[in-house]
């Protein structure tokens, strides 16, 4: 390992850790639902809906995989409810994946240099940096998947079987990918032990399979996600959609030019998932590699993502990053100093956009409820009830976008509500009651304003002038770009 690779590795690790609690500026929908379910499990043994130690978390209708939540629960008990703690498992998984990819590459190529390059390349890959800085189930599952593959290559039947199937408990994309890897890997690497490997893997996955059939919600979601669930789709339509989705996973525009959604869509400086100069060593690596397994791995990785509806999924397709990086590392020894200079410039460009422009440009899209939760905690005794509008964005004032959020999860998580409050919520047509908190669309002309009733609204829904005399502005909150985002009003 020379000085240059060590420096690059340090840069990669730095990019994963630098201001990880504040960039992305706030927890996303998926992150907060994972965070709160972990808190709820740690404190009551039940999720936010009152299910006892579930294997599928209904959350806000997204049915989360259980692994991240169960790993996070004890961490929150020990270290508290903060963004850093929520993202910690993903950060650690991301760092360990850097190590594991090197080990896999070394096992399959017996080339120390290529193994080091694959680790270095993964550490500076925007796609993996982005995933490692968020509490993404897919990133945790990717670590277990990679570890399982390494153990499988090392012919550790039991350990690899456990780790590979654990990744199925980590993220839904692995449900299809892991059985394929277990089948192919069993034949390729564990010839004598393949039946033991297959049966053991099946047995460890059994609780998940049973839960899928017994848990109506999780099953129902899994049945609406695939492309064949599109209403009125024909067999030809399924095939065409699959081909389109599958090819999209290898679309150079997404991979190298503008796939990483960290600035506005029309912004020409949107970075790609991989640093664009790596396209050259990737093509060389794909052609030169003697090991077919890398190509097979690359080709089967996006199958699960291609079978689901919707556009390209950054996280659904994250598994593809490992074979892509290994193939790039194989083609890397042909690269000269000019190529390296270009790569470093592109890395600098990505860092600049990620750390400087991302929080500013997309500030409005984040639900910045953390400071609000802390503020509302201070007026808790004073308030008779608190109306919280779940919409956010500057849709009213500047005809901007209107977003629909899940503020109750942020309030519950950062104020450390008793889990019983969310588990016993009362839902009507228009409102959901969480103790003092009422989540609804605040309608200034309909809602009754009375003393000590608080209103939390976004800048998109300010009180009209004729009502302002009945209200007192208590606090304002800005988003990460510094623009006004939320207001708290109190009835006089």
């Amino acid at each position: 390992m020379n000085k240059f690779t060590i420096i690059l590795l340090i840069v990669g690790i730095f990019l994963r850790l630098y201001r990880v609690d504040s960039i992305p500026p706030h927890l996303s929908n998926d992150e907060i639902s994972i965070a709160y379910d972990a808190y709820s499990i740690a404190n009551s043994g039940k999720d936010e809906h009152g299910n006892i130690f579930p294997l599928s978390f209904p959350s806000y209708g997204t049915y989360k995989a259980p692994l991240y939540i169960y790993i996070l629960a004890p961490l929150e008990l020990l270290f508290g409810n903060t963004e850093l703690v929520v993202r910690l498992p993903s950060i650690i998984a991301g760092l360990l994946t850097i190590l594991v990819i090197g080990l896999i590459t070394f096992e399959l190529t017996s080339n120390r240099q290529i193994a080091i390059w694959s680790s270095v390349l993964l550490s500076i890959t925007p796609w993996h940096i982005y995933a490692s800085r968020m509490a993404w189930e897919g990133n945790l599952a990717l670590f277990f998947l990679s570890l399982g593959i390494w153990l499988m290559i090392r012919k550790r039947t039991v350990l690899s079987s456990i780790t590979l199937v654990i990744s199925m408990y980590g993220y839904h994309s692995e449900w299809l990918l892991v059985p394929l890897i277990v089948f192919i890997g069993g034949i390729t690497f564990l010839k004598k032990d393949k039946w033991k490997f297959w049966i053991l893997s099946f047995l460890i996955a059994l609780p998940l399979i049973i839960d899928y059939f017994l848990n109506a919600g999780a099953g129902a979601r899994a049945k609406t996600e695939p492309i064949w669930a599109i209403p009125g789709i024909t067999p030809f339509g399924i095939l065409a959609t699959f081909i389109r989705n599958y090819l999209n996973c290898f679309n150079p525009k997404i991979l190298f030019l503008n796939g990483l959604n960290i600035v506005n869509k029309n912004n020409p400086f949107m970075p790609g998932l991989l640093l664009w100069p790596t396209i050259i060593p990737l093509i060389i690596g794909f052609q030169k590699t003697k090991n077919r397994l890398f190509r097979i791995w690359l080709l089967i990785s996006p199958i699960a993502a291609a079978l689901t509806q919707g556009d390209f999924g950054l996280i659904r397709n994250l598994n593809t990053v490992i074979p892509l990086v290994i193939l790039t590392a194989i083609g890397l020894n042909k690269m000269n100093k000019i190529w390296w200079s270009l790569t470093l410039i592109t890395l600098f460009n990505f860092s600049l956009i990620y750390f400087y422009h991302f929080p500013k440009e997309l500030g409005e899209t984040f639900q910045g409820y953390r400071p609000i939760a802390y503020y509302l905690k201070t007026i808790d005794n004073e308030a008779t009830d608190i109306y919280v509008d779940y919409r956010y964005g500057n849709y009213h004032l500047r005809h901007g976008k209107e977003y629909s959020g899940i503020p109750y999860l942020y309030l519950a998580f950062f104020q450390k509500w008793d889990p019983l409050i969310t588990q016993t919520r009362i839902t009507t047509d228009k409102e959901t009651y969480f103790g003092k908190y009422i989540i609804k669309q605040v309608d200034w002309n309909q809602d009754i304003i009375r003393p000590n009733r608080f209103f939390l609204v976004s800048i998109g829904n300010p009180p009209p002038d004729h009502i302002k005399s009945k209200l007192q502005e208590m606090a304002t909150f800005t988003d990460s770009s510094g623009k006004m985002a939320f207001q708290v009003w109190k009835g006089k």
């Binding site: 090819l247 679309n251 525009k253 030019l257 029309n266 912004n267 020409p268 422009h357 500013k360």
Partner: protein, 135 residues
């Protein structure tokens, strides 16, 4: 011998068709008001790079980036059942780099047009493809 001649003739026809495509470009996308609006919009609201080099180099690079993106869109989307993509893969497989390069130039020329008409122009690239697959 006949195949060799045919190959050369098709290649020459293909090059002429490329010239014809380039002559027929009515309005490059970088002259369209929508494109300028997009560029101006993001420059007005966001200081995309906190350095002055933005105005010197990056504004020009936007055209290049947009052109590459538009060309990839032509190749990678399901136009004519992925015909351009299949053609390119076949030429890569056969290692016909000249034909491949000329077809890519053709696709770049098509995507320069603000409102490209792939239905009309894709077929003008067929001579180059056939010249590439003839042994």
């Amino acid at each position: 011998m006949v195949q060799k001649w045919l190959k050369h003739i098709l290649l020459i026809i293909g090059v002429f068709l490329l010239i014809f495509i380039s002559i027929n470009i009515q309005k490059p996308f970088w002259q369209s008001p929508t494109y300028h609006e997009t560029i101006l919009n993001f420059q007005k609201d966001q200081d995309i790079f906190p350095y002055k080099i933005r105005t010197i180099w990056w504004n020009k690079s936007i055209i290049l980036i947009s052109l590459i993106e538009r060309t990839i869109d032509l190749i990678w989307t399901d136009n004519f059942f992925y015909l351009p993509l299949i053609c390119l893969f076949l030429l890569i497989k056969k290692r016909r780099w000249i034909n491949l390069g000329l077809i890519i130039i053709g696709l770049i020329l098509i995507s320069i047009e603000n409102d490209p008409n792939p239905g009309k122009y894709f077929f003008w690239l067929i001579p180059l493809f056939i010249a590439g697959i003839i042994k």
